[in-house]
Amino acid sequence: MLAVYLCEDNLEQLQHYKDVIKRYIMINDYDMVVNLATPSPKELLENLQANPPEYALFFLDIEFPAEKMSGLETAIAIRKLLGFAEIVFVTTHSEMALLTFERKVEPMDFVVKDLGRTQIDQKLRENVDYGYQRYTNYLGNTENLFSYNIGGRTFSLPMGDVYFVATAETPHKVMVHAVNQLVEFPGFLKDIADQYPELYRTDKSFLVNLDNVSGIDSETRRLVFPNGDETDVATRRFHEVKTLVQKHLKS
């Protein structure tokens, strides 16, 4: 069961969001329920502490002029409290400190109120869909994650998005090449290889996710990825890699 929580200080809007979401859950027959719709972030947190849900989806406003607490603090508190929490911010454009929210909370989405009612409703429904999809993925454990640590914080991305990990030009740094992402951080290729045995060591400086290889160039002995990147393959491993890749490409 995925629990939905709404927090918005405009009571009329709160009721409207609640109606939209409830109706959408019913139509799609999702395993979801609206647990709480409140104008007060304090009440929301108290409720969460009293009976914490296992899986939850939040729709939060950002500014609460009547309360001491802001939407950002609330979201950070929620992240600390719950293991699985997807957060969507519903806010007017002007009050949005986009980057701060993006980096500190990693919300699933922002719904901008200035768009007009129909657009907002559409966005809310999309996010219910998307949150439910993430929830089912999580339950089915289909979402295999690649996690890494920088400065005491853990970041993760779906393993299916990872193309390959390479050593950077300076020692003690590695670079992760993924779909729409590029990350360089201090680390060792060997540690990553130990942690993720599903990644294949094609060369001393490359760890490859063979699932994502889109082609193989036998002449230069390189693997080709959908984004045009290429990685070297060690001569003595080339034959083995080639058979593996061909198997992957067929399936």
């Binding site: 980057l99 701060t100 993006e102 920088i150 400065g151 729409n180 992402q181 590029l182 990350v183």
Partner: protein, 439 residues
């Protein structure tokens, strides 16, 4: 080693004087002699008394070993190797002078107290010469960071020095063990000395020219950055002057309307002014919004400058600095370059539809700081981020895009830095994470 060490004799004063000299040399070499280090000679005496009281030949190894430990603990291995080479050269010189003395006047005179003293003075003389040369070359470990040697360069230099060490030590050991007449021994030792001296002289000459080139390069980059920084400040002054002029013009215009008693015209003019002010009002509010929470004045000025630059291009740069930040754990010049390049890149990127907002945030975490820059990108033809970090990728035509490879280079070079580049929901995010030192 025994044959070499035997030469020092067992007297207290021999050991004491030699240890003092060695330390003098080593301290100059390590580069610690400064007026505030007035206690240093006392430390030398302390260290020199230890081998002097032990009185054994091997005890002379104590001061150089302590110096080496210091070097290994604090600084690059290059200097450890260089120190060993110089030590061996001095030992070799001592050996050769003794053999020459034996050849000329016989063993008895050569090992007499006065001869040993003379040799000691000769050694001190040589040490002093090398010390002077070293301090003249400005290549002490204290200056190492300024040289910005890459790891590969460090290893090359180290390998050269190490092979020189082995060469000097092995050859004199072998010569001592050969079954040859004493004249031959003296001769071959002299030849060896000349060779080792030549090799080390040329090696040091090479190193010096190499180092001076490195220094030149570092200095050039620094001046380059400084002129850029100066230019930014003068740009700011320019912007303020412009603002003053517009303001004066507007006041005059208002006065004209008043003089002509044209209240209707005044009302409409005021209306347009009011609209224009709203567009620039957050400029006045800049100091109140985020920037005042930033402690680094250079970075502050850069951000201010970039906000103006964005406005000139009709873009809006949102700055988010929610918590006070005293300073960021990165070399100031590198930091400015990175932030400057990232913001330029965001400002110069074309607006996507009606989305033209640019975001920049500096955030604090318990163990790290984060600098994030975001700008809208097309969802249909997103830029290829895997091409960013190679030199020359750009969506803006030729001449741009060199910057991002520089960012990667700087991140590469900074130990505590990490970089995330991502495209999410039609936005391109660059995030530099700087972990606090000691974590």
């Amino acid at each position: 080693m025994d044959a070499v060490l035997q030469l020092f004799g067992r007297q207290f004063w021999t050991n004491f004087v030699l240890a003092m000299t060695m330390q003098w040399f080593l301290t100059i070499w390590i580069g610690l002699i400064r007026p505030q280090n007035w206690k240093l000679p006392l430390k030398w005496v302390g260290w020199a008394l230890i081998p002097a009281f032990i009185g054994e030949p091997w005890s002379l190894l104590i001061p150089p070993i302590s110096a080496l430990v210091y070097l290994i603990r604090h600084l690059a291995l290059i200097f450890v190797n260089a120190t060993i080479v110089i030590f061996l050269v001095v030992v070799l010189i001592n050996d050769v002078t003794r053999q020459v003395a034996i050849e000329l006047w016989g063993r008895r005179i050569a090992d007499s107290v006065s001869a040993i003293t003379a040799r000691l003075f000769f050694q001190i003389f040589i040490y002093s010469l090398i010390s002077l040369a070293v301090s003249g070359m400005h290549i002490q470990p204290g200056n190492l960071t300024k040289l910005a040697l890459s790891r590969k360069e460090q290893w090359t230099v180290m390998a050269m020095l190490a092979s020189l060490t082995v060469l000097a030590e092995m050859s004199s050991l072998i010569i001592h063990h050969l079954q040859i007449s004493h004249a031959m021994l003296t001769f071959s030792l002299s030849i060896e000395l000349v060779m080792v001296l030549l090799i080390s002289a040329s090696l040091f000459g090479f190193l010096q020219s190499f180092f001076s080139r490195q220094r030149m390069r570092a200095k050039y980059q620094e001046t380059l950055l400084r002129t850029r920084y100066d230019r930014r400040i003068s740009d700011q002054v320019q912007a303020i002057r412009q603002f003053k002029q517009t303001y004066q013009k507007q006041m005059l215009q208002l006065g004209d309307y008043l003089d002509a008693n044209d209240y209707e015209g005044l009302a409409t003019y005021y209306e347009t002014l009011n609209q224009r002010w709203q567009a620039t009002s957050h400029l006045a509010g800049l100091e109140a919004d985020g920037l005042q929470r930033l402690g680094d004045p250079a970075l502050k000025s850069l951000l201010f400058q970039k906000i103006l630059a964005a406005q000139n291009r009709g873009r809006n740069l949102h700055l988010e600095i929610p918590e006070a930040i005293v300073s960021l754990p990165m070399a100031s010049m590198d930091l400015l370059r990175i932030v400057g390049i990232l913001l330029d890149n965001a400002i110069e990127a074309p607006a996507v539809g009606d989305r033209s907002e640019i975001y920049c945030a500096i955030l604090a975490y318990p163990d790290a700081y984060e600098i994030a820059v975001a700008n809208p990108v097309s969802t249909l033809t997103p830029p290829k981020i895997n091409r960013f970090m190679g030199a020359g990728y750009t969506t803006k035509g030729n001449g741009h895009g060199q910057g991002l490879s520089t960012v990667k280079e700087l991140i590469d070079r900074t130990k505590n830095a990490a970089l995330q580049v991502a495209i999410k929901r039609g936005m391109l995010y660059f995030t530099v994470i700087l972990t606090k030192p000691g974590r």
